[in-house]
Structure formats: C-alpha cells, structure tokens
C-alpha cells in the first residue's frame, strides 16, 4: 500500500469517526446553547437509541424502521430527562446543574446495567450493510456502514440547517441561545424551546448511538460515556453552544484521533486520549470560545 493510499484510507476513517463525533457534539451544543447546561446524560441517550434498535431488530423489525424507532426512543428519553431531572433545577447555580447532570448519567448507566447486564451484546447488522467496497486494488476499504454513516450525517445536518433557518422554532432556538431574555421579549415560549432543543438533540444522539454501535459491532450500557466525553471536547474546540462549532469540532477531533493513531510513533499512540483531553484543557485556558467564537466567557 503506497503512502497516498494509506492517507486516503485514513481520511475515510477520519470522516467516518468525525461524523459520529459531529452528530453527538451537535446535540450537546444545542442543549448548552439554550440551557447553558452540559448534558452528561447525552451519552446515555445514545445508549437508549442503540438498545432500542438492537431489541427491535431482535424481534424481527428490519433495519431502517428499527433505526427510526431508535431515534424516536432516544428523543423520548431526552424529553423525559429534561422534564424530570433538569426542569426543577433550571435556575439553580451552575455547579448544582453539572452535578445533577452527572447523577442522571450515573442512574441511567446503572439502570442499563441492571436491565441489560454490563456485558456487550452483538449489534445485529444486516449483512448488506457489512458489505465492503474496495478501491484501488484493495488498498482502500470502506463498508456500507461507513457510507450510511456519512449519508445519514449529511441528511440530518441538512435537515437541521433547514430547521434552524426556516422555521420559527428553529430560529427561536438560535435566538434563545444568544439571548434568552430577548427571546422571551419577542414572545417565545421558553419551555417549548427547551423541549424542542432536547428532542432534537436527543434524536441526533440516538442516530449517533445506533451508528456508533453498528460500527463497533456491539452495544453495552456504558457505551455512551466515551463518545460523550469526546464529543464534549469536540464541541469545546469548535465553540460550545454553536451548531457550526460542533460540526467543525467533531470533524477536527475525528481527524486528530485518526492522525495520532495512524501517523504518530507507537510510543505516543496509546496516549491518544490524554492528548485529546490536554487539548480540552488548553482550549479552556486559552480559547474558551472555541475556534469559531474567539471572544467568549469570563475567567477568574
């Protein structure tokens, strides 16, 4: 395999990983934009989506309808979480809300372990999706799942773009992210916006969860934790609270991780996650608004 082919393969991997990070990061950013809350339970919403799909496929539903149901299930889970855990503390200090968010994820993960046991289950991928394509005499491989991931990511992002520029609710969400008081002054209903934000964000998480599990081949209750943390870093890199930032951050992080694994010496590769989180700290210190929003947030 020549150098060029190797690079191309890594680009494909990076795009695939970046799409997943972008999907999760978008949901995190949407919720943070409207509520100024970091929803750590977002990862568990991914898990709900994945498990719903797996269970439905298990009882015979074909893949696409099961995927859609998984997304709906995740959206519903997000709605419930907001209603039960976050609304009562909406005006509480930041630390309280952060802790509540951690508690929710703790509960959901343990609940998942209780119901499903912590050992991984196979993700029943339809054979068609496992078909791989080979280019350049087998030097480059990608499977239908990679294609599906990219396609669904693009479709949902385009849909989201339409939603936030053409509909009043979508515009309202952007407005509320920027200035909640002004959004109220034009008559927007805060509760409704928050619900919409959570439902949309959770739907994205659900889709990401199914795709993630499909690519990994397994589901387990703790599956959402690592993607959540990574997506969080991605969102911070791009600019937390901004949808474009989440996109940019997601793909940058995907590229960075693949780069570290594929091109860095073996001594460094296992420290990939340490590098990623050092990057997080660096951004928090020097560029808290992310790449797209240089002037944000106060320090000491």
């Amino acid at each position: 395999m020549s150098g060029f082919e190797y690079i191309l393969q890594q680009v494909i991997n990076a795009v695939s990983l970046g799409s997943l990070y972008a999907l999760v990061a978008v949901g995190l950013s949407i919720v943070f934009g409207v509520l100024k809350l970091t929803n750590f339970a977002h990862g568990d919403v991914m898990m709900v989506g994945a498990f719903t799909t797996v269970l439905l496929i298990g009882i015979g539903m074909p893949f696409i309808p099961a995927l859609i149901c998984g997304i709906i299930g995740a959206a519903f889970a997000g709605f419930l979480i907001e209603r039960i855990a976050y609304r009562p503390i909406r005006n509480a200090p930041d630390v309280t809300r952060l802790l509540t968010s951690l508690a929710v994820t703790y509960i959901l993960e343990n609940f998942g372990i209780l119901v499903f046991s912590s050992s991984p289950r196979n993700f029943p991928l339809p054979p068609a999706l496992n078909d791989s394509w080979q280019l350049l005499d087998g030097a480059i491989t990608f499977t239908n799942i990679n294609i599906l991931t990219l396609a669904l990511t693009l479709v949902s992002l385009i849909g989201l773009g339409w939603f936030i520029t053409r509909t009043t609710l979508g515009l309202g969400m952007r407005a509320a992210s920027e200035d909640m008081a002004a959004a109220q002054l034009v008559g927007l209903d805060v509760n409704r916006l928050v619900i919409v934000a959570f439902v949309v964000a959770s739907a994205f998480a659900g889709l990401a969860g199914v795709l993630w599990a499909a690519q990994a081949g397994v589901v387990q209750p703790q599956m959402g934790f690592t993607p959540l943390l990574k997506a969080f870093v991605a969102a911070i890199i791009g600019g937390f609270g901004s949808i474009e930032g989440a996109l940019v951050g997601g793909f940058i992080l995907g590229a960075l991780e693949i780069f570290i694994v594929a091109f860095m010496p073996d001594a460094i590769t296992p420290y990939r996650d340490a590098i990623v989180f050092s990057l997080l700290i660096a951004f928090l210190l020097f560029r808290p608004g992310g790449l797209l929003q240089p002037n944000r947030e106060i320090k000491l």
């Binding site: 970091t38 855990a85 009562p88 503390i89 509480a92 200090p93 930041d94 630390v95 309280t96 952060l98 802790l99 509540t100 951690l102 508690a103 929710v104 703790y106 509960i107 343990n110 609940f111 372990i113 209780l114 934790f225 943390l229 969080f232 911070i236 296992p270 420290y271 996650d273 340490a274 989180f277 050092s278 997080l280 700290i281 928090l284 210190l285 808290p288 947030e297 106060i298 320090k299 000491l300």
Partner: protein, 344 residues
C-alpha cells in the same frame, strides 16, 4: 479547661476503638469502620477546594489514584519490583519504603502535582474549572493505564503490603481533621470563603485569588495522596479503573449530602452514604417478606443513591449541614461567631 478534658476523653475513646475494635467486633464491622474513616479523609480533603474555596474539582480522584500507585510502587519489596515491574527505571527499583514514608512521599508528590496542574487551572471560573479538572482525571487514568513500566497498565497492580489498620486510618483522620479545622477557621480560611462567595469583592480587598485557590487545591491534594496510600495498603491490589468516575461520584455524593461548607458535614455525609449503601446493598441481594420474594437487583442501590442525590440537588443543595458545624457547643467556631468575637 472543660474543652481540654472533653477532647482528651474523645481522643482516648477513639484510640480505644481503634486498637480494641478488631478483637471485639467482627471483621465486617471493622472493615466498615475503616472504610468510613478512609472515605472521611477523602471527602474532607475534597471539601477544602470544592466546599470552602468554591473550586469544584472533579479531578480529586486523580490525586487519590496517583498517591495510591506511587505509594504502592514504593512499598513493594525489591524482589516484588523485579517480578511485577521488571521495567521500572533503575532509580526506583533498588529500595522499598515502609508504610509511613511511602505515605508521606505520596502526599508530597500529589501536592506538587496539584501545584503544577493547578497553576493554570485555578484561573478558570466555576464551570470551566470543573470541566478542566475532569479532563485531568481522565488524563491521569490514561497515563496510569499506559505507563505500564510503572503501573502494570490496565492489569491489576498487586502485592502492596496490607499495612492499613484502624489505628493508622484513625490517626491520619485525626491529623486531617486537625489540620483542616485549623486552616478553615483561620484568617486563611476566611480568605478561602471570600474567594468562594464573591470573587470580585475578594480581589477588590486585595486577596490573591490564584494563591488562595492553589493553596487549598494543593493541601487537599496532599491529603488525597495520603488517603490514596492508605487505600492502596488496604486493598493490596487495584487497577486504574478503581480511581475513576465511580469513585468520583461516590465522594461527591458524600460531600454534597453532608454539606459542602462544613467539616462535620463531610463526616456526616460519609457516614450517611456509607450506611445507606450498605443497607441498600443488602436489600439488593433479594429478600422475602411473607409470601413475596423480591429478586436480586444488583445495581439497584446505585440507582437509588443517584435518585437521592438528585432530590438533594432539587430540594436541599446545601446538604444536611450547609455551612454549620456540629460542635456540641464546645467550640464556637462558626463564621458568625467569629465575627461576633471580633476576630474578623
């Protein structure tokens, strides 16, 4: 004078329990007592930054783990080091430290680590410092897993001599309590609380924000490292995942339940959560009432604890004690009384 006598009696009582308990009580209860005392050290050290200085660190367990591993490595015999950690660098593999020095070195190491890490991080504001310290926890975890020459990586680290006993833990707990008590209810302690309550006003009166936060962070880390060493010599074997998010959530729950701005609150929180956990865990195994059998539901205790935590966040975020201390009227050292006594 009365104070001195009472304290003397209390100390004697505790010493009696510490030395006498193993022969009088079952292993199970001794273990519970030990864990409660150990967790108390953890939570007290956590409260210094999180409760009193307003820096809500999510990375405390990173210090605990670092302390545990360092102390563990130092305590292995030379022979153990040769077999378990064959690639340990030369400057470390020719000696073995006894319990107390290993513990002190661990504490010193984590304190220095805290100063290095805290120097940039303590400038961040509330939400960001929590997130950044969480990043620190993750980084420590990754390093522990990958620096296998030192830590055996993700495999179990074993062989640490089981030196931790009730007297040791009670002793260190007493030291921790004493140091923190003196610190929190002193002029420095008032500076900490000023930094927590109103950062703008604090800097306006000339308090050095960074230094105050950093000091609290580092002292907290010292006792975290000490506690980590004690924990290592209690467990004997452990792995990086021991010192990660599950432990973090556990300590935070204890801190918050008891009340973040109170030392006695920290102790109360530890006792309550520990007892509650034990109770729930025994229920978890399933039981029978009359004709009804409740099956085993492992993990349910964590779920219940999680819900209780959320309820506290909603209804009583200040915890049981809030910022008051349980002093039985013998030590009037709350902030209000300090003002009344004209010390402020």
């Amino acid at each position: 004078m009365a104070r001195l006598i009472i304290s003397g009696v209390v100390v004697a009582l505790l010493a009696g329990v510490a030395f006498g308990a193993p022969s009088l009580m079952s292993d199970y209860f001794v273990r519970i007592l030990l864990i409660i005392a150990l967790n108390s050290i953890f939570v007290l050290s956590l409260s210094l930054s999180n409760g009193f200085t307003g820096v809500f660190s999510l990375g405390h367990v990173g210090f605990i783990g670092a302390g545990a591993y360092l102390s563990g490595i130092l305590s292995l015999t030379v022979a153990q080091k040769a077999s378990l950690l064959p690639h340990l660098p030369a400057f470390m593999n020719w000696f073995s430290l006894p319990f107390l020095p290993a513990t002190l070195v661990a504490g010193a190491f984590t304190a220095v680590l805290a100063i290095i890490v805290g120097y940039p991080l303590m400038r961040l504001s509330g939400y960001f410092v929590s997130v950044a310290t969480m990043g620190f926890l993750i980084i420590v975890n990754v390093v522990l897993i990958n620096a296998s020459d030192f830590t055996r990586g993700a495999r179990t680290f074993t062989g640490v001599p089981l030196d931790t006993s009730l007297p040791w833990v009670f002793g260190w707990l007493a030291v921790t309590l004493f140091v923190l008590w003196r610190l929190v209810y002193s002029p420095f302690g008032r500076r900490m609380k000023a930094v927590r309550d109103d950062t703008i006003a604090a800097s306006a009166v000339g308090i050095d924000m960074l230094k105050t936060r950093l000091t609290a962070f580092a002292i907290g880390a010292f006792f975290a490292g000490v506690g980590g060493s004690l924990f290592a010599h209690y467990l004997g074997s452990f792995s990086p995942v021991t010192f990660y998010f599950a432990m973090t959530m556990n300590l935070i729950a204890m801190l918050v339940l008891g009340g973040m701005g109170s030392l006695s609150g920290a102790l109360i929180g530890v006792i309550c959560v520990s007892l509650l956990s034990e109770l729930l865990r025994s229920v978890e195994r399933g039981f029978t009432i009359g004709h009804i059998t409740i099956p085993a539901l492992f993990g349910a205790s964590q779920i219940v604890l999680g819900f209780i935590f959320i309820l506290i966040m909603i209804f009583r975020p200040k915890g049981i004690m809030g910022e008051r201390e349980l002093t039985f009227g013998f030590f009037r050292r709350s902030a209000k009384s300090q003002i009344k006594q004209g010390e402020v």
